[in-house]
């Protein structure tokens, strides 16, 4: 009995989350998709390193940090662009996007230098 209720609760929770998520604006969903893409890429790189060893360690670090860094920057962009965030009401989304692009370019310069 309890077990079915917990599973039913879980299912309900999942459905409610899903419907709430579907209500989010499209640009935020794009950013979420980008973050997932970046994190999955990082995970695949970690799995590869676990398999074959970390010989060019700098390359591994640069690859993983590139993914994680860009994911972090995308999260910052999401926070700033989200209209429901009262703190960033005065910040134009284009400005946030310009910051995102600039920071990504700097991050990738450092990453490429460290890649070796």
């Amino acid at each position: 009995m309890a077990r079915s209720s917990t599973s039913k609760d879980a299912q309900d929770l999942f459905h409610s989350l899903r419907s709430a998520y579907l209500a989010t604006p499209k640009n935020l969903k794009i950013i979420d998709l980008y973050v997932c893409f970046a994190v999955i890429t990082a995970l695949i790189q970690v799995a590869y390193m676990a398999l074959v060893g970390s010989f060019p360690f700098n390359s591994f670090l640069s690859g993983v940090l590139s993914c994680i860094g860009t994911a972090v920057l995308a999260v910052c962009l999401r926070i700033q662009v989200n209209k429901e965030n009262k703190e960033f009401k005065d910040l134009a989304p284009e400005r946030a996007f310009a910051d995102f692009v600039l920071c990504n370019l700097v991050l990738h310069l450092v990453i490429i230098n460290f890649l070796g």
Binding site: I30, I44, V52, A98, L109, I112, N113
Partner: protein, 691 residues
Amino acid sequence: MMAGGNVRFLVLILAVAICGAASVFQPISDSHRSAALDVFVPVDGSYKSLEEAYEALKTLEILGIDKKSDLSSKTCENVVKVLQSSSSTLKDAFYALNVNGILKCKIGEAGPKDIVSQLQAGVKDAKLLLDFYYSVRGLVLAKEQFPGTDISLGDAEAIFRSIKSLSQSDGRWRYSSNNPESSTFAAGLAYETLAGVISLAPSEFDPSLIQSVKTGILKLSDSIQKYDDGTFYFDEKSVDASQGPISTTASVIRGLTSFAASESTGLNLPGDKIVGLAKFFLGVGIPGDAKDFFNQIDALACLEDNKFSVPLILSLPSTVISLTKKEPLKVKVSTVLGSKAPALSVKLTQALSSKSVDSSVINNQELKFDADSATYFLDSFPKNFDIGKYTFVFKIVLDESAHEKVYITEAQTKVPIAATGAISIENAEIAVLDSDIGSVESQKKLDLTKDGAVSLSANHLQKLRLSFQLTTPLGNAFKPHQAFFKLKHESQVEHIFLVKTSGKKSELVLDFLGLVEKLYYLSGKYEIQLSIGDASMENSLLSNIGHIELDLPERPEKATRPPLQSTEPYSRYGPKAEISHIFRIPEKLPAKQLSLVFLGVIVLPFIGFLIGLTRLGVNIKSFPSSTGSAISALLFHCGIGAVLLLYVLFWLKLDLFTTLKALSLLGVFLLFVGHRTLSQLASASNKLKSA
């Protein structure tokens, strides 16, 4: 105590200083002449250039070697070609005239006039020092070789002044008025040129001009440099000068001697410095380079040919006096090129021993002269003349009678002399002692002049004593440079010990108790060898005394093993063991296929991202439609793409600095374009919001 120590130290420094200044210089000899034939070798019958031809021919002429017949034809052809052409450079004309002076080629009637007029035009138009040099000296040579032609210098005083204007206050000369660098070599060329101007000038010069040149010479001679062995030389001030000390000094000597000859005065240098310059060139030995050889011989010839200061060199064929052979010490005095010296006498003023520097063994001894071999010799040495190292101080005294030339000599010449003799070895004996009591167990007398067959035996509790007495021919105590005692085991392991000398007695005591470890605990038969040697000892010896049976205890576990002796005595000079280097093992890389699989797997999330985007319904509807904003938007995207492409290139082949440079350019562009696009987008969305 301290004062005594200081005085001894000072005496040592003085001794070193005196020893440092003593050396022997030999005048030019036949070995120079035979070397000249090897150094000045023409290629295919002629020399590469007229300059080299002149240097070779002049050197051979000074040394008295006649090689003219072999080379005349081709070289003369070159000379005639240059002298008859109207477009030869001043330098070629100068060297052609020089070579003609030696070879005396047939020029023809018209030749001289053309070349003279060319040189005169050269003098008039000259601005650089080298132009003045070639043209003026060329005219001087032309005047000597073609006595009929009329050679005038025009305004000699003006030419003199314009050459003088290139001089510096320190006696050096500049090559041109544009170039501020001054050179001592150029000063030599300038003095030769000025001498040429004086000799070609129709009338007397203003004495103040001549005096200014003489002051310049004095200033230049202040820059003369000195080596420790008493030789003087000139060198350039700057480190990267093209002329070394030999060519610089030769140029200055040529200049000074030609200037002195034109003025009919002596060289304005003190006698010691002139002899020092001569000794510098003699100290070069036999140069391997043709230019150095020419400079050496030419400079020495200049010093010898001038009438007012001809240097004389004192040389010794052998600097070793053997007290056993009782041969006299020979001294030769000659000019630098080896010609005969005038009548003079040689005195040995002092003979300073290296042991006692203040007192001299010989004082003011005049050397006898042997006319047949033209040498001075000293055949009697005082009774207290012992073996060892000495410094003999010679003085040349010229006879009072008037000579054609004025000769100059050094104030005193210091020569290092070694006296050798036979050392007597007495009371040589070898003994085995009992260590505690010191009593002699067995003692043998030795005759070190021949190999002996002494047979001794000892155990590790005993001592071995070797003693002998060394005395010089005069009975003084003698300490040899080398006194080695060698023990050689049957297994070829050797040990060398030094025999210490104190006063007249030399003794070595080997305490086997302390030496067991050094001898690697090897018992058995050891051969004994003694060697005594010294530079002043004529009867140095190496004698096999005999052998000794040593009984040493057993080797304990931790003692060092004797080194492996190879059977070949010279194998220590053979190849050593091969060194195998250990390199870093390269890291294990994963298999290629695995890497490629993962490359594919990495691309999957990107594809998933694109699919997700299409599922979300991404569109580019808000891409601006008006051309201006469309262009900036397009440029913005292109700019980002360009930066990413730059990063790919950076990874593939560029370095950080070029990337940063390109990135800064692209970044500025991107900033500008991006700002425009985004502000336009922002204004568009604001309009939508307000609307």
